[in-house]
Symmetry: C2
Subunit: 367 residues, 2 copies
DNA sequence: CTGTTAGCGCCTTCAT
DNA sequence: ATGAAGGCGCTAACAG
């Protein structure tokens, strides 16, 4: 009658068309149990003729799995996250999983909502770049209720869940070492560093120089500062606190202003803590009329597409986005497979290293 | 026993905890039918205590709707699509829908797979930027089976489905008019234009000049060429076929080479057919040692983030990504609402206009 | 206002 | 190798 909508063929329809029982049709369609070759083909033919598509909701009700992952990031359209999503989605699909996605705009409240909705969809796992260090109750609850979680990019220390992150300290140290090896002795670092109070910054640097110790902090810009300091220490090069620029907020205008100030202390090289800082720092360098790499060497943390399009192209350290996405999905699938008995108490924490893309913006100076 | 996984509270658990029947619990939880205030609160409290989350799979089995959309694009990580996805996802969530996503890398085969899987998930609709003009059988079948489809960015003429696209002709005409108004009489256009054979290009331009008619073609670069020609005609300015650069493929290196050749015909202004062409064209302009906007005015079709970061910043026409995504989701939701009886034969085709972002790369020359 | 009952589409024993 | 029957978690008739 009025079945112009939602008139999907069911396994019953297929069974009737093929003159078999629903059980047999189910076996042929689902690839389980015993079915004779002839019946199987008859069923498959009937299914094709009816354009039968298995209803995953029904399957999920029984199996408990919707063959679906949820993915939550703070900004879906950023070059970084969209690349991670792309690889995670592709990997998941190749392994039979769909991906539900959501964007929180860094709102913990929206994140909590997203987790709840994914829970209602009974996703087989959530890949998430947590929006907040504080509010993680919803994730804890999800995990406590048996939900699988893999954190990416950011890792909550208080959450019992796997993670795939960049090794910020090591990668920043590698970057710094590259500049040091090129002969630079006055290297500027521009970052948010909001976990360290402005008044404490000088002391942190000096303490590190004296003891080789510092609280690494959780924020990437702090961990990367640690790498910057470590590389100096290993090379036996003292750090001048005036060369560490702290914006305190996440705006490129602040990075421009801070860089402008730092430039007056005559660095010969400069590295940033991420792509946004790169924008501000580059602008300040240009406004100061300095030429890259002749007047100053430039190394961007985060490799964004436009870095190869500016003049001159800028060297950068690229995060392994594709790997991060794949690893996260791989871990989830691994968890699902390996859950015959083990209740899992230990967690996997993968830390990947970034790789430097050399575009010639680092000048080698007199060794 | 071994219920450390998947031990989700069900409506039965909640009903028992609240000492009511499942039906009553369902009514309280689902917000339908009559429930007294006291019972409702008791049920809700029990649900909260058990961290009950409704199983959407079960709900979907009855209602026929999983409250989910599917979204398929050819490149999830492109600035263009990721912005569209972001807005579509946000709009959908705000209206109670989740979004499943997939990336086809322009493969029609993967697209067919994605549609099938989304069909199995019984999505309430698919938002898609079709990968191929030819292969659309899977979409036809999906629509024939009662599936809802909204096309974005690209529109298949042979598909009975709504669409949200950019008005390429009008937008390109606006761009061209902007250059013409600035006094330019020799405006280069760099595009893929692969639907027109190289040998035919001159004839197409001349035919248009003579008759005001041309086959607009389906590919964006051709429709935008049409707009370019139309604007010239309206302004009474003749087009020189030598200024129309055809790459024939979608690679920035080709755009660079073609632009290099076109520059020898001394254009005073240049516009591209999209972001990739912009990369090649910009490189050619730089390599030719020409200064923007003094030696040549530059207008990019597609506004990418880096255009404001190069020196000098480049003016561009921005596609309304956020609007495209929202409109697509809005149409889908509208379709769902308006399907009491109407079997829908007419379809909605929304064509949005791009807007020019002026960054000063267009020089006004002697009027 | 509340409880009982019968499915939605599929998988899974258990017979045959 | 195949069929019959029960149930996953929820909603939608019905009664009461």
């Amino acid at each position: 009658m009025d079945e112009h909508r939602g008139r999907h063929a069911t396994i019953v329809d297929v069974a009737q068309a093929a003159n078999v029982s629903v059980a047999t049709a189910g076996r042929a369609l689902g690839g389980y149990g015993y079915v004779s070759l002839d019946t199987r083909e008859a069923v498959l033919a009937a299914a094709r003729a009816l354009n039968y598509q298995k209803n995953i909701a029904a399957q999920s009700l029984i199996s408990g799995s919707a063959k679906t992952f949820g993915m939550i990031v703070s900004d879906l359209s950023s070059e970084f996250y969209s690349n991670i999503i792309k690889s995670a989605v592709n990997y998941s699909f190749r392994h039979g999983y769909c991906v539900l996605i959501h964007d929180t705009h860094e709102s913990a409240e929206i994140e909590r909502e997203a987790v709840a909705i994914f829970h209602r969809h009974r996703v087989d796992g959530i890949i998430i770049a947590p929006a907040s260090m504080q509010s993680l109750g919803h994730l804890r609850e999800f995990v406590a209720g048996g939900g699988r979680v893999v954190q990416i990019d950011r890792r909550l220390p208080g959450l019992a869940a796997d993670s795939v992150t960049l090794d910020n300290v090591r990668t920043a140290a590698t970057c710094t070492a590259r500049l040091l090896e090129a002969g630079h002795r006055r290297i500027a670092y521009i970052g948010e560093i909001d976990e360290v109070r402005p008044a404490d910054l000088g002391r942190v640097v000096e303490t590190y120089a004296a003891t080789g110790r510092m609280r690494k902090g959780f924020a990437p810009s702090c961990q990367r500062l640690a790498g910057y300091l470590e590389a100096h220490r290993e090379a036996g090069v003292p750090v001048c606190a005036d060369l560490v620029g702290r914006t305190g907020n996440y705006r490129w205008e602040a990075a421009r202003d801070v860089t402008q100030a730092v430039l007056s202390h005559r660095p010969t090289g400069l590295m940033t803590s991420d792509g946004l800082m790169t924008i501000g720092a580059l602008r300040a360098v240009r406004e100061a009329g300095m030429r890259i790499p002749d007047d100053i060497s430039f190394l961007s943390f985060d490799d964004l597409e436009w870095l190869q399009l500016v003049d001159p192209p800028l060297s950068a350290v690229a995060q392994p986005c594709a790997e991060i996405g794949e690893e996260a999905a791989r871990i989830l699938i691994g968890q699902i497979r390996g859950e015959k008995e083990a209740p899992r108490t230990r967690h996997e924490h993968i830390r990947l290293a970034g790789s430097i893309i050399d575009r010639g913006s680092i000048q080698v100076i007199g060794g």
